[in-house]
């Protein structure tokens, strides 16, 4: 299927208007008044074309937790969110700590065809924090793993973290650290502060995150390795990363959309949809995270999409699971917290959600954005849309979104991955069509 798609009159992130001609999986031409011969035409007037979004932090739950999400359902959620690539975290069952598991996850992603699924390998066997996993085997497997993380758990042992940084460097990889000092957060339920004291919920102190980041940037400096910090959530963490970067330490950091918009006072509802790890923080932290994005301290926005079945959220707060789904809402939340507030522009968003995460994860094809000859990976967004977010907006298997009932701006109208559409007219393309297009695309690439 060497189908041609002509996008008519889209605005690029920098504000220029252009047609986009897609052919043979690539952006074939850019410019005004392109020929529509043999192409299906999409009217993109009023829409912004962003390079395909790349999520550095997604929980797809398969294998092992298919009642929460599968590679297929999570891929559909990603597509409707404007994503064309996701990094699937390793805390599955079995854990993605061998070449076999990461190859399986990648194969499931390829078969689904909605996005490029890049498996993340575990740093330690079974996320146990005691013995290194077969990082070399995963790096050299068909999945070519480059991001290693025990996410959900912190690599808290200082010696093991040092060795992991060194060993992963051997394979051009990066350790993505879930920064959470375990002893300081034993039983923790929400941000530690005045509100946790009032509610009688065990606090998750900011220092438990900041102390690990401080230790790890110094370790990274000492051994000359790359470090990536997952879901930075506190003002103090932003300060530590800013200091490390000024010192020349090769550290990158991510922030989630929910930490850019929501605050801890939502715990007053006792609604466990707002329970997440790291927890929602204070207004001052939210402001510091936004400032960290604005001054380049924080490199990427990543969703930490964490699906859970309803029963794991319909309980008392401390009995509920941590995590929220975020793929479907990410771009809208980013627009609400950064664009509509004037903190950043769309060019910045294209970097934070596409080229920068792709560079960290070593995902090819995203370095030039929407450019002639680049892989056709992009999404069309209607920034003037406004919608009450509901479960109707979700395309994954789980509905634990904190935004249900909130009005959010913006809407993804189309997503193109590997030259074929995965979202058309604001709706996910049917599974069999996408799978067929993906198969054809793979054959085409090989041929």
């Amino acid at each position: 299927m060497t189908k041609r798609i002509l996008i008519r009159g889209a605005a690029l992130a920098d504000g220029t208007t252009t047609d986009i001609l897609v052919a043979d999986g690539l952006v074939a031409e850019l410019g005004a008044g392109l020929s529509d011969a043999g192409a299906s035409v999409v009217d993109a007037a009023g829409l912004i074309a962003l390079p395909g979004l790349v999520d550095l932090h997604t929980h797809l739950r398969e294998p092992g937790y298919e009642h929460s999400e599968t590679v297929l359902t999570g891929s559909r959620a990603a597509a409707i969110g404007g994503f064309t690539a996701v990094h699937a975290m390793a805390n599955t069952s079995p854990v993605a700590d061998t070449a076999g598991v990461v190859e399986q996850v990648q194969a499931l992603g390829d078969a689904a065809g909605y996005v490029t699924v890049r498996p993340v390998g575990a740093v330690t066997i079974g996320l146990g924090g005691t013995q290194l996993a077969e990082i070399g085997a995963m790096a050299q497997s068909r999945a070519r793993v480059r991001v290693f993380s025990d996410d959900g758990k912190c690599v808290s042992d200082a010696l093991l973290m040092r060795r992991a940084l060194e060993y992963v460097k051997t394979f051009d990889g990066v350790v993505a650290q879930h920064a959470q000092e375990p002893r300081l957060t034993d039983g923790a339920q929400m941000n530690e502060g005045a509100l946790s004291s009032e509610l009688g919920l065990t606090g998750w102190p900011a220092v438990a995150e900041e102390a690990i980041i401080a230790r790890d940037v110094l370790l990274a400096e000492h051994v000359g390795a790359r470090l990536h910090v997952c879901h930075v959530s506190t003002a103090g963490s932003v300060d530590v990363v800013r200091w490390a970067k000024a010192r020349g330490i090769p550290v990158t950091a991510e922030v989630t959309p929910h930490h850019l918009l929501l605050t801890e006072d939502l715990a007053l509802t006792w609604d466990a949809r707002f329970k997440v790890n790291p927890p929602l923080r204070s207004r001052d932290d939210v402001d510091a995270l936004r400032a960290g994005l604005a001054d380049g301290t924080i490199d990427v926005i990543a969703t930490d999409h964490a699906p859970h079945p309803v029963e794991e959220k319909e309980s008392a707060w401390s009995d509920a699971s941590f995590g929220m789904v975020g793929l479907e809402s990410a771009l809208s939340v980013v627009q609400a917290s950064l664009i509509d507030t004037g903190v950043l522009g769309w060019v910045d968003i294209a970097r934070l959600l596409s080229s920068a995460p792709a560079a960290i994860g070593r995902v090819a094809g995203y370095d030039r954005g929407i450019a002639v000859g680049a892989a056709a990976e992009f999404t069309l967004v209607d920034p003037s849309a406004s919608r009450e977010f509901s479960t109707e907006e979700l395309r994954g298997r789980s509905v634990n979104s904190p935004y249900l009932g909130m009005t959010l701006p913006g809407r993804v109208m189309m997503t193109v991955h590997s030259g074929y559409p995965t979202v058309v007219d604001g709706e996910v393309v049917a599974t069999e069509f996408v799978a067929a297009a993906a198969a054809e695309s793979r054959g085409f690439t090989r041929g």
Binding site: A194, L199, E314, A316
Partner: protein, 317 residues
């Protein structure tokens, strides 16, 4: 009053109504047949996810004196501990026609989840949730203080100007939290005394004074000193070195009791660790209100159930 979930959102006037109704209930307790027909035909479920014989029998006695039917549902060791969710349990109780559910739960906020979940229509009474609140304990403490201060003329009064010092494991105490909100709403001045390890963080927004020194607090001559139960196991989490040191620094021993003014009341929510946070001499002295607290607990809980189920405070709280 639809539910009683916390004292944080209880206004002074509402609290005084509850305490005044509790005075009426206390009069009933003095009768030959201490029983009212007020809640005949109503069903009260005691849903206890934690062992607490004292609180459960207090609620049971309260409901029975109002002629309600009482179902005791000890969730510990039942279907619930085998994985039944709060939601399923709530729906089961709804199907049984519960009019009020008195819930004790180890997780903070569980009664709020029951009240807001839409699974059951009954009034919810928080009988202690995690380290959050224990509103009926605070109400019975306030009732006890008010009676000692004003005797038979207590009705209508708050606790204005009364100085209350709460000592011990504030961090883990739902009793302390409920008392801070309720007693200050009633006009009392509350101070908290504990080692810094057992004080919650960021208390600057609480309407209290903070101190570490029990002797200084006693020298200030409080009207009430309330000793909280300390669990000796806390020393394993490095909250304090050992029971001996805790007792020496923050225990109410005979010497410290002697240093208190004659009018000072000694309170304890029970169960006590005699010799640890309170000496036998202090617990058994005439200044101790500990046995009154137990008796008053029934009256206060009668008042709460009555106000919840009779619709007497409809539209409030």
């Amino acid at each position: 009053m639809r539910h009683l979930l916390s004292t944080k959102d209880l206004a002074r006037e509402e609290a005084i109504v509850i305490l005044d109704v509790a005075e009426d209930m206390a009069e009933v307790a003095g009768r030959e047949v201490p029983r009212l027909p007020a809640l005949r035909g109503k069903t009260v479920v005691n849903l206890f996810y934690e062992d607490s014989t004292r609180t459960r029998i207090s609620f049971e006695a309260a409901a029975k004196r109002l002629s309600a039917d009482v179902i005791n549902f000890s969730a510990k060791g039942s279907s619930v501990s085998k994985g039944e969710s709060l939601k399923d349990t709530a729906q089961t109780l709804a199907a049984m026609g519960a009019d009020a559910v008195v819930v004790r739960h180890p997780a903070s906020g569980a009664p709020d989840v029951l009240a807001r979940g839409g699974w059951i229509d009954a009034g919810i009474v928080n009988a202690g949730d995690g380290t959050h609140e224990h509103p009926t304990q605070a109400l019975l403490d306030a009732f006890t203080i008010r009676r000692r201060l004003h005797g038979a003329a207590a009705r209508g009064h708050g606790l204005d100007g009364c100085r209350v010092t709460i000592v011990g494991d504030i961090l883990h105490s739902r009793v302390a939290r409920s008392n801070v909100w309720l007693l200050t709403a009633l006009g009392a001045r509350v101070s908290l005394v504990a080692p810094a390890t057992l004080m919650p963080v960021a208390l600057d927004r609480w309407p209290v004074e903070l101190g570490y020194d029990l002797d200084a607090a006693i020298a200030a001559g409080p009207d009430v000193i309330m000793m909280l139960r300390i669990q000796a196991e806390r020393m394993h989490d490095a909250f304090f070195p050992n029971a001996r040191e805790y007792s020496r620094q923050w225990g109410l021993d005979d010497e410290r009791m002697a240093a208190l003014p004659e009018r000072s009341m000694i309170m304890h929510p029970g169960p006590m660790n005699r010799g640890l946070e309170i000496s036998a001499g202090a617990a058994d002295s005439p200044r101790s209100t500990i046995r009154e607290q137990v008796a008053n607990g029934v009256s206060v809980r009668m008042a709460v159930l009555y106000l919840l189920l009779s619709g007497a405070m409809e539209g409030k709280a």
